[in-house]
Symmetry: C2
Subunit: 193 residues, 2 copies
DNA sequence: TATAATATTGAATATATATTCAATGAATTG
DNA sequence: CAATTCATTGAATATATATTCAATATTATA
């Protein structure tokens, strides 16, 4: 009955999952379509039946990332320190459970900063700026002493890049012990009692 | 007289420098030999006169990294916290001055963890383990209260990966403000008075 | 069951990029 | 200055990998 349709969706997801895994481990350019196909257990030719090209597959992952994990990360009107604690905890929890979300976080960071990402994807990520709202939040926190003194942009970089570095490492060697999210927050924490 | 020889050395260094720059920005696979040649201002063919292959060029960079920046980073018998403060400060200073050393640090990290690095290079980095001595140092610091409690390996990961994440970012966007090395150390600092 | 639609493969093709090479120009040496 | 060696280029070749496609198997529909 609907078997065909469900099977197709499942197969697409398998491809997306394998692609995500390989893209973050090897990078876009070094990941061969045949690698992905092999990891799924299908011929390379068949992959093109599901996704028109390697770039389309990558693009779909980025689209998922924009809609999901990254979207949920947008700063709110929470107390600044609370936001940073909460976000770090969520990401690290995802990392520990090896979730799709955590890998997606790594993929997005790579796509954003690696010059090798396809041009069209670069375009999709234009205006996807996590630093501006983060800086605003940090300034707010500095005003009430919950965030340490220092260049707010530099603090934002320290926070996100530390998380990114650790997330990438965990994606590479999932068996290694995962740092505590509080340690990251201590990097930017103020010394207000 | 010796002009030829000096010119040759200078040219080799230009290639190494351009290669290092592009490898860390795009990754090994996505960096075209013609990109490197263009950045130096020579034909792609000529590059092969200086380095037999793209891989050989990469290999020479890694060799330089092993001998230089990474070698200097090996833990000593210093006070643990002092070592971490000192190392972070040195790396961040290098980053701020956009030195060869800082880029090399990024290259080495990438070569170590990215599965796409050429196999031979992987081999060269075998046994180049920065974590074992770091863990030992952390345990020593935990014993005298200068390093916080927690899984020593996880603390080592937090420290190195945070530095790596920030270094990579700075390599990508050198105009951004650089975090303070002390912030990183605060991540692992104990609360002994 | 017969027919149509879809999934799958493996081989063929296209494309991108690494690498080679013959030819040319510039520097060095005697 | 003549001869030789080295630097350099641009075009040709080799190689790796993305992509297409005709043929076949499988599943759905009537």
């Amino acid at each position: 009955m609907v078997l065909r349709k469900e099977q197709k969706k499942k197969r697409r997801n398998e491809i997306l999952s394998a692609g995500l895994d390989l893209f973050i481990r090897k990078g876009y350019a070094a990941t061969k379509v045949s690698d992905i196909a092999e990891q799924v257990g299908m011929s390379a030719g068949l992959l093109f039946h599901y996704f028109g090209s390697k770039e389309k597959l990558y693009e779909e992952l980025i689209t998922l990332g924009i809609a999901g994990p990254m979207g949920a990360m947008a700063p709110t009107d929470m107390e600044p320190l609370e936001f940073f604690e909460c976000t770090a905890k969520t990401i690290f929890h995802d990392i520990k459970t090896e979730s799709f979300a955590a890998k997606m976080f790594v993929l997005m960071s790579q796509a954003f900063y690696n010059e090798a990402a396809p041009q069209r994807i670069k375009g999709m990520l234009e205006g996807f700026d996590i630093y501006t709202p983060t800086v605003a939040l940090i300034q707010k926190g500095q005003a009430n002493g919950t965030i340490r003194e220092g260049n707010p942009y530099a603090l934002a970089i320290a926070y996100w890049c530390a998380i990114q570095g650790i997330a990438e490492q965990m994606a590479q060697t999932p068996e290694a012990p995962c740092p505590d999210s509080n340690w990251i927050v201590d990097m930017i924490r103020g010394n207000s009692i």
